[in-house]
Symmetry: C2
Subunit: 588 residues, 2 copies
Amino acid sequence: MYRTNTCGELRIKNVGQKVTLTGWVQRTRKMGGMTFVDLRDRYGITQLVFNNETNAELCDRANKLGREYVIQIEGLVSERFSKNDKMPTGEIEILADTLNVLNESLTPPFTIEDNTDGGDDLRMKYRYLDIRRDAVRKNLELRHKMTLEVRRYLDSLGFLEVETPALIGSTPEGARDFIVPSRMNPGQFYALPQSPQTLKQLLMVGGVDRYFQIVKCFRDEDLRADRQPEFTQIDCEMSFVEQDDIINTFEGMAKYLFKTVRGVELGNKPFLRLPWIEAMKRFGSDKPDMRFGMEFVELMDVLKGSGEFSVFNDAEYIGGICVPGCADYTRKQLDELTNFVKSPQIGAKGLVYAKVNENGTIKSSVDKFYSVDVLQKLQEAMGANPNDLILILSGLNAMKTRKQLCELRLLMGERLGLRDHNKFALLWVVDFPMFEWSEEEQRLMAMHHPFTSPKPSDIALLDTAPEKVCADAYDMVCNGIEVGGGSIRIYDAKLQAKIFEVLGFTPEKAQEQFGFLINAFKYGAPPHGGLAYGLDRWVSIFAGLDSIRDCIAFPKNNSGRDVMLDAPTAVDPKQLDELFIKLDLKQK
Amino acid sequence: MYRTNTCGELRIKNVGQKVTLTGWVQRTRKMGGMTFVDLRDRYGITQLVFNNETNAELCDRANKLGREYVIQIEGLVSERFSKNDKMPTGEIEILADTLNVLNESLTPPFTIEDNTDGGDDLRMKYRYLDIRRDAVRKNLELRHKMTLEVRRYLDSLGFLEVETPALIGSTPEGARDFIVPSRMNPGQFYALPQSPQTLKQLLMVGGVDRYFQIVKCFRDEDLRADRQPEFTQIDCEMSFVEQDDIINTFEGMAKYLFKTVRGVELGNKPFLRLPWIEAMKRFGSDKPDMRFGMEFVELMDVLKGSGEFSVFNDAEYIGGICVPGCADYTRKQLDELTNFVKSPQIGAKGLVYAKVNENGTIKSSVDKFYSVDVLQKLQEAMGANPNDLILILSGLNAMKTRKQLCELRLLMGERLGLRDHNKFALLWVVDFPMFEWSEEEQRLMAMHHPFTSPKPSDIALLDTAPEKVCADAYDMVCNGIEVGGGSIRIYDAKLQAKIFEVLGFTPEKAQEQFGFLINAFKYGAPPHGGLAYGLDRWVSIFAGLDSIRDCIAFPKNNSGRDVMLDAPTAVDPKQLDELFIKLDLKQK
């Protein structure tokens, strides 16, 4: 080994030891005939001292060290005169006897500090330098610890990690597949899995009973701010279980991970299980952020038809939130909120407010349309106190309006500092609708996927009112983010056929697309269900980050490019020949 | 839960308990007014009893159960009259009160038994049924345990598991890449990694210090019997280390895995470290099977020029093995061996034998060319005893002939039962040549890869005799199989440039192909090295299997097809349009 110790481990008890250290030069400074070098590696920083009086030649060489040079030194661990209690090695320093430059470095394009001067693009291009920064490396360490603890927990419950193939077949349902031309099967393509959904169900048919896998998945979708074309799932499935069994098992895992990886005790109380429809009505979202209140109050009874305001009188939905202590919002601040809700990504028509003054009177933007009595009723309905600000949205489509109000609620929570990265609010959203109407395809689509089981009590509705059928599907939500989701699967061939019928599949089309699974289910499929967590997302929550990007060693940018590797690239025409394809750039 | 217990856990101490079990019907049989059902799940088999006298209706329904039906029963754990000590649950049976058929099954296309009547093709098509067999499921359990223990061991040494991307750039060096068209970057392609080699080196530049990953890798090569287009590596890299550090670390891991996963104690003695040239001379292979002897004896001194046999007189190499106790081989058996070595996959011109008779005399196929004295010297050189059979190959190319003799040695070892699946011989092969001559490309090629470091003592030879340069490269070999291999990497930019020069790369070409790595190395690359193990191969050794296929849940056949999923497939022309490619089947 090039070293006897790392840069993070020497303490006052090591004083007097001869050691050899290696690492990167963080900084050098001269002071009173001495040269001090901060030597850094993954484990920490240790101060080196070169003495100009006792060894001028060595000190001279130390003075010439550049940032990020890789060096090896021998020296004596000594107690510092001026100790630094901010760093674990701050009580000692190394009096260096030798200095060996293992490698030089060009001046790095940004500083290797927690608060770097490098912008996002530069950091991504030189990601190998970015990773030297504590802030990024710690996320990789967190990710390592998290996957280790997931495996430990699931192994203790008898789950088997089974690797499923990465080269599978393409299915038209779901998101767009990445495809891979097959050289040995001309004209045919593999697809990279969007998830191992059908494969894990085949493992259940195979009697594996409890399966999991931490697995790369792929979706060729346009990348929004926080999506990656390749992402990692903690994918799980169990046999002979009902919804409660899965919820209990994975709630246990969440609590275990919060405790062992994040050091947070979530307690023994079960997580809230919120029916989807209630989540929509109270928070306008199937992933409500429950770190704070400001729940929706429906105001149709209070405001519709009780005054001359035609917007409300025409509305299918009127709802408000009560923002505590914000009655002092200025005209400008209120205009800002109005512009926010009217922005294209939110799409509301306008915002109505009502301030509850110190003295209990109300000042609202719709004063002229409503009597004092109605405004009083509004205040009562909202449970608003003096100094509170009531914000109201209305619209012709209840669900759309709720989603708009949700965005406003989140913004106000953010402004009031209620969305604390160190506070965690976990819950299950359950009883999702089985189907949703697709305007584009003019048919019902599976909200989850076509193998999700309807609630047994709702099966009769499949014939009469399929849109009312709820599914045995569940999402785990943390701080307004869906961290995982799953369902009980159909294992009865007749029920599966019925679902395909409701989805508008002919039996032939169902067979063509999912034949391998439908056939497998003829050979004794057990009752089963499961769920999948998004690993990148979960690590980012633990890391207190808004983006998943810094929880991934080598992420891609919004055009799906790896700017460090400069991939994807053009390939040799010979490669395409071998694959029986050619470029067709005419539409470009 | 559908069950209170699994089919593997009930024992005599549970007698008197009311239980609910679920599982698959392994078999049913009627005997003396009773119906017995063997109920199977992943954990074992439990016998159920249905009594025709006490509940004729229930018993009647039990009689109608088909193989592989999925059922749920309630009943009382009872002591058996006739115990079966071959199964863990053999002392008890369940007196069934209820029977609930959860799912029916068609008659499976092969028997779900350790010795199934299903052929390979049928088993692969219905792999989900094949996995229900103990023999296959146990391999998946072994694989799960192996990866868990690898992670446990490496975590305990401070290694971080870091996920590297699956969508990277294509590099012309090495095997053929699988490529993935990019929709967002028209005309460009990702490649699936053949290994994360360059990425893990970038992590070392990034100061990760100790990295590992259990990771899918991809090679689009023609599939020989035991290769898969996607396979799994245990990929590792360390900084600030020399060859000995890596060998010690991963020898420790091998011993740990043998102990914890396979229950085999390999002892404290270090593995043999055999220089490549010695491995070639003694075994004709860089992955010698050292479970048995029969080492090569070079016979040039003894046989070349000492008789009238022109084949030997013209040879560049003559070598023999001494097969103990096989002097009684018949003419027919010897002809068989001759045909074996002359077969196209071996390619020898012929086989010479010499039998040492009971009385010490020698009978050889080249008697007429050599004096008794020379044959005596042959016997001495070979250390042959009475009843031994000496087998000799010769050729104009020493290395080629040694490889042929290696195949013969392995065959004889197999015939003598010396290649025992329960015996393990591990060693390191070290000091590999840095380069090998490519007849096809008429240039030196990197034997390992272009980032492998030459031995420091051999660097001077790079200018004068590059073909003589040895590398700091090492393979771990178990039972004649390379289970892993790696090297110390170059971290000095000038040395790297020199190696590219020897490989015939212009600086421009080197920059074009490996620019991202060469540039990264300008910013303080630490000394580093690593290795990668083949997980599939290693699991197959632990499982005592010759093929890796049954250690993989869903393997592909020799045409790269998944016959269960029926992938790859044709895709919708719209998908190709979006990717800016079209089919070009003219050459098909």
